[in-house]
Structures are given as C-alpha cells and as structure tokens.
C-alpha cells in the first residue's frame, strides 16, 4: 500500500477548478518534487494532503485513511501525528525563541522536551541560536528552525511549500542537504518548488498545469545532492 494516494481529486472554487481530476501515488520513503506555473494548484494540493483543506471530489488516502471524509477535529489530529509542514514564509511564533518554537510542535503533539528540541536545532546547525527570537535570526536560519520543528515529531511525511523560495543559494543548499539527510533516514518528502535545481534533486518530479497533472519525470541518477548549473 502506498503511503499517500490521490484518487481523482478535484478542488472547485465556483467555476475554477484549482485541482482537476488529479490521481497520484507516493510511496513510503519517496522524495517527490511538485512544479508548475503560479496558480496551477500546487498549494491547493499541499493543503489537501496536509489535512488543512478538503477536496471537492475524489479520495485522499493517507496511510490507508481516507482524509477527504474526516471532520476538522480528526484532521487536526492526523496532521499533528503524521505531517511536518514547512512553508515559503518562515512561519515562526514571533515572541517565542527558536527552541520554544520547536517545542511548540512537541507541545501540541505530546510532551515538550527541551533537550530533544535542542538536538533538533543542532541537526539543522543552529545549536548556538536556540535562545534567539525569530526577529534576531536571518531568513535562512528561520527556515532551518522550521525544518527542525517539522522533523521533531518524526512525521511520516514532510510537506514543504516552496521552502527555498525566499533563500539565497547558500541557504538553499543547507536546506536541501537537510532534506537529503531526512530522506536517507526514511522520511517521505513532498516539496513544491519553482526552482528546477531544487526540483531535480528529488527522485521524481510532478508538473501541474491548470490543476491537472501535466507530466511526470523520474530522476534516473538520483543522488539527493543539489547541483547548481551556472
């Protein structure tokens, strides 16, 4: 059984089909990129997979559970237990320190554990920034805190919506390296990106166009390492 399966999923806003009859499967431990022009439905799809929105039509099976039929409360539970989210804007709670932001995910999930949260920050190379507020961190550092927060509860699947959209190349490489580490530990990754260099690192790239699955590309020589072609 696949970890994630979309069966004929559509999201319809009035006349607009933000997602139009999309079917796809993602296996456990896979690293998938999603590309496509602006407005093609990438974020819409991520919101549905991330249990923050429901499809208008079709089924979404996550770990065998049809999340398109669940109520809000159950969706929150599923999201908390199975999913780690990373966004383009480095969303952190502004008045909590880096380590407190990581602990927040533990708090909602089970038990806050400062030691474990510090270890997660160490993994993303921010051990010395643990006591800083988000406003005292650079964009790249903030995004690494988000990565630490996303991985703290060992989610089945990490969803990243343009995680490098606001980062320079150096930070982009750091974040992609982190993805590589997570992937090699068996975490499933779905990464939305506009950046072909980031997309090409993944094992598979899906391209959306006007809400439809336009094309699919397998990366034959997958290494999980980013190559800048300039």
């Amino acid at each position: 059984m696949s970890l994630l399966e979309l069966k004929n999923v559509s999201k319809i806003y009035g006349e607009l089909h933000a997602l139009d009859d999309v079917s796809l499967k993602v296996e456990k431990g896979e690293w998938v990129s999603i590309m496509g022009p602006s407005g093609s439905g990438k974020s819409t799809m991520m919101n549905i997979i991330g249990c923050m929105d429901k499809p208008s039509l079709g089924e979404v099976l996550l770990d065998g559970v049809d999340i398109s039929k669940e109520n809000k409360k159950n969706l929150t539970t599923i999201r908390r237990d199975k999913i780690g989210l990373i966004f383009q804007q480095f969303h952190l709670v502004p008045y909590l320190t880096a380590v407190e932001n990581v602990m927040l995910a533990q708090y909602y999930h089970s038990m806050p554990d400062e030691k474990e949260a510090l270890e997660a920050l160490e993994r993303v190379g921010l051990a010395d920034r643990a006591k800083h507020l988000p406003s005292q961190l650079s964009g790249g550092e903030q995004q690494r805190v988000c990565v630490a927060r996303a991985l703290i509860n060992y989610p089945e699947i990490i969803l990243a919506d343009e995680p490098t959209g606001n980062l320079d190349e150096a930070n982009e490489e750091i974040v992609v390296d982190l993805f590589h580490k997570l992937h090699s530990e068996g975490t499933t990754l779905i990464v939305v990106t506009h950046d072909p260099e980031v997309a090409e690192v993944a094992q598979r790239t899906l391209v959306l166009r006007s809400g439809k699955l336009h094309k699919e590309k397998i990366n034959e020589n997958f290494t999980g390492k980013i190559h800048f072609n300039d």
Binding site: M52, T77, R80, A105, P112
Partner: protein, 382 residues
C-alpha cells in the same frame, strides 16, 4: 506536568515579549479594577463616614415633659448636664394653634440659633428670623397663603374657653416674613417665630413642648446622658431620637445605590474595553493562530492559550487595581470626608478574582473567533 510548564512559559512569553501591545490591555483591566475596588471601598466606608458627619451636626436627643409641663428653665437645667464641648445645639419648641386669614395653622416658638445647629439640613429661602416681629413659614404654608419672603402677615390667636367654645378675645399681631423653609418634612406645614412672640400672642408664658438637642458623643455616652437626665430632673424626660437616623439611612441608601450604579457602569465599560482589546489582539494574531493550528493545535489548546493570557492579564490588572483602588478611595475620602479610609485586606483577593472573571468573560467572544481561523487561508503566502 511538563506540558503545564510549557503552557505557562508560552503565555508569559506572549505577555512579556509583546509588552508594548499588552500594556494597553493591562491598563484597561487595571483602570477597571482600580475604579471597582475604589468604589467598593467607598461603598463600605460611606456609612461610617456619613454617620460621623450626621452625629456631628444633627439632632440626636429630645427632651419632652415627663408629666404636666416643662419650662425653658427646666430644659436649660437638664441640658447643663451635658458638657459644653459635646452639646452642639439646643432647640426648644413650643407649638400653638393660630390662624392666618381665619384658617388654622400651627405656630412654633423657638430659638433660631438652636435650630440652625440641630437641623443644619433646613433650607431657607430668604433669611432666618432673628428677632421679635419676624417669622419664617413652611413651604406648604407659603404656598397655600401665597406668602413670599418680605410680606407682612397678620397672625391671630383665639384661646379656647373651659367649655370648649371660642373666646371673644382675639389677639392679633403683624409679622414680617423673612424666609420660606424647605425640609421635605412636616416643618413645611408650620410657621416659626421667637418664643417671646408666641408668648405675647397667646398671653401665656414659659411652656416648652419639646426640645431637640444635637450631642456629639458615642452611643454609650448618649445612653448615660439620657438615663442621667431623666432620673435627675422631675420635669424633663430625655430620649434618643430616631428621626435623624432614619433620614441618615435614606441618604446612605441613595448614596450607596449611586455608587453601586457607577460600579456596574464601570464594570460594563471595562468588559467592553477588554473585549475590544482582545478582538484586536486576536485579529492581529490570526497568522500565528493559523500557524499554531497548522502544526497541530486543537481548538481547545487555542482557547486555553488565549484564556490563559487573558486571565494572566486579569491577575496583573487586578493586583495593580487593588493597590491603585485603595489610593483612589483614600484620596476621595480625604477630599470628601476629610478622614482616611480603612484598608480592607479582603478586598485584594476579591478585586483580583473579579478582575480575572471579568477579563475571562469578556474574552469569550473574541477567543471564539480565534478558533474559527482557517490554517490553510492564513498560510497562503500573504
């Protein structure tokens, strides 16, 4: 329990690190709590303060004739048992039926200085009478006879014969009306003149029906005076008077009702203020709420966190308010009653609990709207 530690760490961080934002909210809670605890202090202290005021000025003892008649000298002899410092005023009254324009009216002979001391609440339009040939009329009398201050009126006295028929003799004297009395009491139905004029008019001398005294003394001392005078004088019987205490109570009830009303209004205003502030806080933090939900916060946790913040705010505001409230009540008391207020320790926890409850209740609606934030919408780039 580590979860609770994180909870407390979170809500204190939210208040402490967003200080400039929360100062406004804290201020509105603190001001509300200040006024509340201040007014409650005053509410409870007013009876004490007002009691002192009234006892200092009003009549609180009366002399009546034990049997037969009492004369002015009996009254003065009895009053001399009270020390000069404690005797604030002595007003003897003699009542007779007289006529104005052939209509019966009660005339009272008295000593104006004494009445001024024992009944400071009398309102006189015009002037007090001071000497023979002058009188004051009650407001009701003035109205029925269309008398104004400055008018001359003729007062006649017709003595009653032994067999009940009216005597031939008519005594009549002209008086200048110096003022009209307004008291809201029976005084408005009487006319007042000097004891001497009433004696001249009736051609009988010396009888006193009742004397009102204002004595500044504790209730124990008053009781001692009353028994001492009644025992020591054959003609005079002293008793403590209830009339002033009754009017004192009415004024008190009205004052307390006013304070209560103001308290309720302030309470309502505080709640509106807190609700508005919390609504703004929630609106401002929509993004954060969405984020918290996205990383797994349930509606329950969101409510807990905002409630926690609101109640913490109520706690700080309540503590601040009970201190400021005491100072406020003290200031009011010093300015209005020229005496200091009693500190009531119980008022501190009451203010704090009330303040927490008020912030909690007024945060309910805004916090409900926080749970309605959709994580997907908030995170959609912006």
């Amino acid at each position: 329990m580590k979860k609770r530690r994180m909870f407390i760490r979170m809500i204190t961080a939210s208040l402490m690190r967003r200080r400039s934002r929360m100062v406004v909210a804290l201020l509105s809670v603190a001001i509300g709590a200040t006024i509340l605890s201040g007014l409650v202090s005053i509410y409870y202290d007013v009876p004490r303060q007002m009691g002192a005021e009234f006892r200092n000025y009003g009549a609180n003892m009366i002399f009546t004739a034990s049997d037969g008649e009492m004369s002015l000298s009996d009254v003065e002899a009895a009053a001399s048992k009270i020390s000069d410092e404690q005797l604030v005023g002595l007003a003897p009254f003699r009542y007779e039926n007289v006529r104005i324009n052939d209509i019966p009216v009660v005339a009272s002979g008295t000593v104006p200085e004494g009445v001024k001391a024992t009944s400071p609440y009398w309102k006189v339009e015009g002037n007090w009478f001071t000497k023979s040939g002058e009188l004051m009329v009650g407001a009701n009398v003035a109205e029925s006879f269309r008398i104004k201050a400055g008018d001359m009126i003729e007062v006649t006295y017709t003595p009653t014969e032994e067999d009940g028929t009216e005597a031939e003799l008519d005594n009549s004297v002209f008086f200048t009306v110096t003022g009209i009395i307004e008291t809201g009491g029976p005084e408005e139905d009487y006319i007042y003149m000097t004891l001497e004029d009433l004696a001249t008019l009736t051609e009988t001398d010396g009888r006193i029906d009742v004397a009102e005294l204002s004595v500044s003394a504790t209730s124990d001392e008053l009781a001692d005076y009353v028994s001492g005078i009644s025992a020591g004088s054959a003609a005079v019987s002293a008793s403590l008077v209830k009339r002033v205490t009754a009017s004192e109570a009415t004024v008190l009830t009205k004052l307390q009702a006013l304070v209560l009303l103001v308290t309720i209004v302030v309470l309502a205003l505080t709640m509106i203020c807190v609700a508005t502030t919390m609504t703004a806080v929630v609106a401002e933090r929509r993004k954060e709420i969405g984020l918290r939900k996205a990383i797994g916060a349930s509606d329950k946790s969101i409510i807990e966190e905002f409630m926690g913040e609101g109640m913490l705010l109520g706690l700080f505001g309540g503590i601040l308010g009970s201190v400021l409230g005491y100072l406020f009540a003290q200031q009011v008391s010093l300015n209005v009653f020229s005496s200091s207020i009693v500190f009531r320790p119980l008022l501190v926890p009451i203010t704090v609990i009330a303040s927490i409850a008020v912030t909690g209740i007024s945060s309910l609606m805004p916090i409900r709207s926080a749970t309605e934030v959709d994580p997907a919408l908030v995170l959609k780039g912006e």
